[in-house]
């Protein structure tokens, strides 16, 4: 039995979320005595000159990968597109490089997966619950008429066409035990709840090119990427996040939190009430409908700790809460707490850190 796993890239390697998806896919395959095959989409959109005819697709293929017309043959080109060593380290012995047009077109990716699933008689398709993974699997569900189990944390095969799984609701604040009946099981993986587990024993990856029949309609909606946005410390990857919530009291109260964030080499994050009030822009929101953070330290000031907020910061290594209410839900989630008014505590903390730096 084959379990296909969509693998997204991060630069030349495999995206962390996809390594986690591969780990769950391996568990799923093992429960049925099968194996995982990775699926990557060709960056250039093709390999060699065949397949796309005269519509211009794949014509920019002679890029850094050395693909495209006049480049390496199908197999050579396909291999150049695959982060083989990383895949092997996660137990992948087979990988497919799918040519579904240049750039990202969600419906075309889904079409490629649907055809590949038929070709290799796959029993399941797994993807990380990223923006793209979730989107492509939803398209795949619609194309194949199959259900999609979103945000799974574990899954196993029970009988042909029958699976049991656990998935997240409320962004992980609640778990659902579920049964899945499907001719092709489609699952996305809640990456923050599944560890990336390498495994020994796979020496090399057998890479094969796959050319699906992509219809023009599948390519109608396609991403055009623009230049990378600049900015300070990214909230998602910040080592320290200083959080501010309703307790900050108004837009002017964030200045001292930003000052503290600066002293700690971190950045400001806020709760939903802060962005709903228009006190701070939405891109600073931490939570279910904002950014998920995973800093070394999250210093949450004046934040009550609603589940929608906690869903965004449960990956923080240490949570320190500053709150006037000792019974606030955040106290139950935090590792340390200061019971007090942040408008007094934070300026005093900033002064103490400055004194310390001055004395050193």
């Amino acid at each position: 039995m084959t379990v296909l796993c969509l693998v997204e890239r991060d630069g030349d390697g495999v995206a962390d979320a996809s390594l986690r998806a591969l780990s769950l896919a391996r568990e799923l395959a093992a429960s049925a005595g099968g194996s995982v095959a990775a699926v990557v989409f060709s960056r250039s959109g093709g390999f060699g000159s065949g397949g796309f005819g005269s519509d211009g697709l794949g014509s920019d293929g002679a890029g850094p990968d050395g693909l495209g017309s006049g480049g390496a043959g199908p197999d050579g080109g396909a291999e150049a597109d695959v982060p083989e060593r990383e895949l092997a380290a996660f137990g992948v012995a087979d990988a497919y490089v799918v040519a579904a047009g240049a750039g990202y077109a969600p419906a075309a990716w889904a079409r490629g997966l649907a055809e590949l699933a038929v070709t290799c008689a796959a029993a399941a398709v797994v993807a990380a619950a990223t923006e793209r993974g979730s989107e492509v699997l939803a398209h795949l569900g619609a194309l194949t008429g199959q259900p999609v189990a979103a945000n799974c944390t574990s899954a196993r095969w029970i009988a042909p066409g029958y699976w049991e799984l656990v998935r997240q609701r409320w962004a992980g604040s609640l778990l659902e035990d579920a049964a899945l009946e499907a001719t092709l099981a489609l699952l996305t993986v809640a990456a923050d709840a599944v560890p990336a587990q390498p495994v020994a024993g796979v020496a090399g990856v057998n890479v094969q090119a796959f050319q699906p029949e992509i219809a023009a309609a599948d390519l109608q909606v396609r991403a055009v990427e623009s230049a990378e946005r600049s900015g300070g410390v990214s909230l998602a990857t910040a080592r320290v996040v200083v959080g501010g919530g309703r307790g900050v009291g108004g837009p002017e109260g964030f200045e001292v939190l930003e000052e503290l964030a600066g002293l700690l080499g971190g950045t400001l994050g806020v709760s939903r009430v802060v962005t709903s009030q228009g006190w701070r822009p939405h891109r600073q929101q931490v939570g279910q409908t904002g950014t998920k953070i995973s800093p070394e330290l999250y210093l949450a000031c004046g934040i009550s700790g609603a589940i929608q907020h906690m869903a965004g910061c449960l990956s923080a290594k240490h949570i320190v809460a500053v709150n006037t209410d000792p019974d606030a839900p955040i106290i139950a989630h935090a590792d340390y707490a200061v019971i007090g008014d942040l408008s007094q505590v934070i300026p005093a903390l900033v002064a103490a850190i400055r004194d310390r730096a001055g004395a050193a």
């Binding site: 259900p147 979103a150 609701r169 230049a227 106290i331 139950a332 850190i353």
Partner: protein, 256 residues
């Protein structure tokens, strides 16, 4: 511009989720209901477009008779019409929900009323987070679809929609009619005005009862994840706690 904006009635959950004794549902006896945040932004976006370009906004939900409350909340934000796809209170999955919504869109097109130019959804529901209703509706109606949108602009029969991906901006071109699912941050939803609330209270809500259908994915139970931490260690009260806090930050290695 005729716009359909779809919302889902979800429990207003605060500090913690409580599961019912039978382990099948979220206990809502102590909570109210609201719509998912992304969907509130979908309605706001629809209202803003119609304010600029004319036309009307229809808000739709699928849910029990009480879900009419959420439709009235959305009417109070400025939507003109409301359609309740009324259920018997059972939980509907994304496949059946999408089929019922696609059915409503098709009935409208067949009725001689002006068809929808744009179908707006929230990216994923706050509770089930299935991330697929908008895309399934688009496939059922053979419409282009894009999800996770943070910026939407319309021009001459088309739409340009953008979202972020790994720090990059991705832009999609769509021809109308189209399906777009949006994320919070695309706009800042307004608070309902008093006249808006009064108008919403009196507004007529169209009701249609679609047929429930079983899904391949079936919930067998709900439970809370295991708590990873207990209660916080209290460092102290007020400014007196600052030395202990500085010592902790030092210990954690975040003081340079």
């Amino acid at each position: 511009m005729e716009i359909l904006a779809c919302v889902k009635r979800v429990p207003m959950v605060g500090g913690r989720v409580v599961v019912t004794a039978d382990g099948q549902d979220v206990d809502t006896r102590m909570s109210g209901f609201t719509v998912s945040p992304h969907e509130e932004c979908a309605v706001e976006e629809a209202v803003q477009i119609v304010e600029r370009e004319g036309g009307s906004v229809t808000v739709l939900t699928l849910g029990p008779p009480e879900a009419a409350d959420q439709l009235r909340d959305m009417l109070a934000l400025g939507a003109q019409h409301a359609l309740l796809l009324e259920t018997d209170g059972r939980e509907w999955g994304p496949v059946a929900t999408a089929a019922a919504i696609a059915g409503a869109v098709t009935r409208r097109a067949d009725s001689g009323e002006p068809p929808y130019d744009l179908l707006l959804f929230g990216n994923e529901a706050a509770d089930t987070g299935d991330y697929q209703v908008a895309i399934r509706v688009a496939h059922a109606l053979s419409l282009p679809v894009v999800s996770g949108i943070k910026r939407l602009s319309l021009a001459a029969g088309g739409a340009q929609a953008s979202r972020e991906y790994c720090g990059m901006q991705e832009t999609y071109e769509l021809t109308l009619p189209a399906v777009v699912s949006v994320k919070e941050g695309i706009n800042l939803p307004r608070y309902p005005s008093l006249p808006g609330r009064l108008r919403a209270k009196r507004a007529k809500i169209d009701v249609f009862r679609p047929d429930w259908q079983p899904e391949g994915l079936r919930k067998t139970g709900l439970r809370l994840p295991q708590e990873t931490s207990g209660r916080a260690r209290i460092l102290g009260s007020g400014v007196d706690a600052v030395p202990a806090l500085v010592a902790l930050l030092d210990e954690l290695g975040v003081l340079s």
